[in-house]
Symmetry: C2
Subunit: 250 residues, 2 copies
């Protein structure tokens, strides 16, 4: 559900006033009316349940019916997604959806089969764009802090960075046919782990030498089953299942 | 991983020839070379592992190194996604990703808070488009059969259709704070169930009366946790977790 952000001064005597674009959104897009409940976060970080009293395109008012101090929605595990740079704007989708799911860091990596090979100017613009998408998604879904988006790395650089942190590492790999995700997550013993990194190849997958380096670095190769997931789907699915197993999906 | 479809006549004495767009894709996009392994499905439905021998933009050849009869990648459960019509082209994404995950039927429903309200011509074009996307995604991910995409229904019509089939029904709902997905799936006893339907509201959620009708029809309201998932993310996440619990994710 959408949350609206208001300044503390917009709340007076238990009455909230929302003007401008958010008001128009409530009236025209969400089509809410008097009596509808919206969720509001104020600049003090409190979360308010507000029953709308008047709705107009330019200004909406409502009464605060419940207040709670906001608990951070960050999951207990730091999940890093090492994503082989996919084609076109697919990384936008990966960043947005995986932020919603609670991924705390993105490492876009340039691999042998990455089709996108941005020059340094284009790379920097793309990374800036992903950071904006991550910040926006974090805000909308109620994660307190936007995930980190690293500059585009080589696979070797990503493995180097991770070798210092020693996370548990999972590597969904089309050549793995034995060990599935469930078995790998049991092996990882999720509840005892503070950091997990997941490696997702680009379209066409990692090259064999790359896959070898990921596995030699300690990542557990896993099968994601009989259906073949696209590169931009695989990360979301693994993130969703990890959060589910951690009890983060309710 | 991408699979390539060839006619049986393109395989002679264990040698496969792929020409045209697929050859260019292998050479230019996937950047594969001699020795790379690709997966090929022939018109008899067999699945072949092929080691490339020569790669040119116009024509690629390879040797068959393994053959297996193809098992259907359809999951054991029929999963229906009842999706409140979201804005813009988000339904495209929902259909594509949920097809990859093994959803077998989509019921797009027009709800009180659906912003998109296509007239009958536009509705028919959109449904045709979703059917094409579903067919394409099913082909790419190795699901034998494209999922069904129903015409746009009212929520009442969708509930009417489902009442005859009596699936287990889950309803991720922002007002549910107690029962999480794990608990609900335990309640459903997935392994004994043949049909599941999942209800996802549009942006802004279902209206209270709609939510009431879904629950009265027997759907279990569930929380998806502290982070707020967008409408187009919620269905994918629930589908991913159901497939995981069914052992369909390896």
């Amino acid at each position: 559900m959408r949350r609206f952000f208001v300044e503390s001064q917009d709340i007076q005597d238990g009455c909230v006033t929302i003007c401008g674009g958010d008001a128009r959104h409530i009236a025209k897009v969400l089509r809410l009316g008097a009596g509808s409940i919206i969720h509001v976060v104020d600049s003090a970080g409190r979360e308010l349940e507000v029953a709308l009293t008047t709705v107009a395109d330019t200004c909406v008012t409502g009464a605060v019916v419940a207040v709670r101090e906001r608990s951070s929605a960050l999951p207990s595990v730091e999940l890093t997604l090492v994503q082989g740079l996919p084609k076109g704007d697919k990384m936008d989708l990966v960043v947005q959806k995986c932020t919603e799911l609670g991924v705390s860091r993105f490492m876009p990596v340039l691999t042998a089969r990455s089709v996108a090979r941005p020059d340094s100017g284009a790379a920097s613009r793309r990374v800036q764009r992903w950071r904006r998408i991550a910040a926006e998604a974090a805000k909308q879904c109620g994660v307190g802090r936007a995930p980190e988006v690293r500059d585009i790395l080589t696979l070797g650089e990503a493995l180097g960075l991770l070798s210092e942190e020693k996370p548990s590492m999972l590597f969904p790999w089309e050549c793995e046919t034995e060990s599935g995700l469930r078995q790998a997550l049991r092996q990882v013993a999720l509840s005892d782990v503070r950091r997990i990194a997941v490696f997702i190849g680009p379209e066409g997958g990692f090259e064999r030498e790359e896959a070898k380096s990921v596995i030699e670095a300690g990542a557990i190769p896993v099968s994601l089953g009989r259906r073949i997931l696209r590169t931009e789907t695989a990360g979301m699915v693994v993130a969703a299942v990890i959060m589910y197993e951690l009890g983060e999906l309710g």
